[in-house]
Amino acid sequence: MQEAPDLMTIVMLIIVNGVPATLQLTFFGLAAGFAIGLVLALMRVYGTKEMQWFATGYENTLRGIPLLVFIYIFVFGVPWVFWFVDAVSRPLFGVFFALGIRSGAYQSQIIRGAILSVGEGQVMAARALGMTAFQTQLYIVLPQAFKIALPSFANEYAVVIKDTSFAYSVGIFEILKVSRSVTAAWPALWVPSMLIVTVTYFVFTYPVTRYFGKKRKIHVSARGG
């Protein structure tokens, strides 16, 4: 048996081998979730009855099912939906996909709330100027909505980065999985490894939620009627 690694080595192992996958999953999960959420939110606020019905149904369904179930479905159930990537990367794609479609349900609600808080008075003013519906979104509603939603996005980031730890269960080498392989070899290192894992997640979440969560909405206080 190898000599037990010192703490610094475990930290390095986690950072070098675990953090990249965690951040990758977080980034792509959030990005996919954002694209889905934006479309759903626009459907709910401006769409036809059918679109609203669809978007609401999507939100309720995806929020009602545990993330791990989705991960299992995409990694073990239907991995062939990722036929375009090589078999080794498919679990990563499965987790990314699961994170994305679920985060989409939450981001839809975040964006929808932010869009609604911009106020229909400003929308009316933009349309009265002759802006198209698209221009109104692009120049008037969404810039304000995203500013308003920033604290909620920070919060969603914290949720998603923590949920990437589920990837451990399908064998992806993210933070948790790396530490678990250390503790599997050296059970005595369980407590320090977990401590390092905890601190690592904390380091990646707290500054973000702290900064954006506290950030005041500066220019969005005037009500547009």
């Binding site: 106020g119 008075g121 802006m131 500013k147 547009g224």
Partner: protein
């Protein structure tokens, strides 16, 4: 351009929300440089009428023509028509994330397709027009209600519209801020701006209205010159309404009486 052709022609406009019939056949013409004052009780459909005119809320029946071109026609671009109909709102509805100058410049730039430079210049001129040039770099939240409304007027002006619709532009303002906005509107009227103004500021109406239209229950109850109404309206309903206004707002505002006497 044919001076005898109305700038705006509203023909038998009807509008319902569900079972609620809000407008029941409203018609009037607005000629070049004319100031039309629309008034009537709250809930009588005045705001709805203005929204029907620029098709923010398309009428169920009836027609609106802008210089002879029918809005809502398949091959008329509604956005192009709206760009030629200015609108000023009761609650200003300024874009909260944009400075005053950008609130005014965004229409000319994004809708009319002016260059950034030209749009800015035009916006600055419009802000000067409403005496808000010194506040160009302020955000709406940093401005008083009266200042915000003047920016709202500048935003409409910068589009160089054929007609401007005002929806109770002073009724959300603190009394001491009403004068500055009315003054701007009076100046516009005297410069020959074509305007449709929903207001209960009878001093303004008396000073510049070519015609006043009293609306109640979604129909035109009575119309006529300011002199006609202030000498004594035909309808009892109108007389009562004017009497109530007088009690609410007092007689004409001081600052307007001066203008009136010019």
């Amino acid at each position: 351009m044919n001076k005898m052709e109305p700038v705006l022609r509203v023909r038998d406009v009807w509008k319902s929300y569900g079972d609620l019939e809000v407008l029941k056949g409203i018609s009037f013409d607005v000629m070049e440089s004319e100031v039309k004052v629309v008034f009537g009780p709250s809930g009588s459909g005045k705001s709805t009428l203005l929204r029907c005119i620029n098709y923010l809320d398309p009428p169920d029946r009836g027609d609106v023509f802008l210089r002879g071109v029918r809005l809502g026609e398949k091959d008329t671009d509604i956005n192009e028509m709206r760009a030629r109909i200015g609108m000023v709102f009761q609650h200003f509805n300024l874009f909260a994330h944009l400075r005053a100058i950008d609130n005014v410049a965004i229409g000319p730039e994004k809708v009319l397709g002016l260059s950034k430079e030209d749009a800015r210049q035009r916006a600055m001129a419009a802000l000067e027009h409403v005496k808000m040039a010194d506040w160009a770099d302020h955000y709406p939240a940093q401005l008083s209600g009266g200042q915000q409304q003047r920016v709202g007027i500048a935003r409409a002006l910068a589009m160089e519209p054929d007609v401007i619709l005002f929806d109770e532009p002073t009724s959300a303002l603190d009394p001491e801020l009403i004068g500055e906005v009315l003054q701007v509107m009076l100046d516009l009227a005297k410069e020959g701006t074509t305007m449709v103004v929903v207001t209960h500021e009878m001093g303004f109406a008396r000073a510049v209205a070519n015609e006043m239209i009293f609306i109640d229950g979604g129909v035109v109850v009575e119309r006529g010159t300011p002199e006609h109404f202030f000498r004594g309206a035909d309808s009892e309903r109108v007389r009562q309404f004017l009497h109530k206004l007088e009690e609410l707002y007092g007689k004409e505002r001081e600052e307007l009486r001066d203008v009136d006497g010019e």
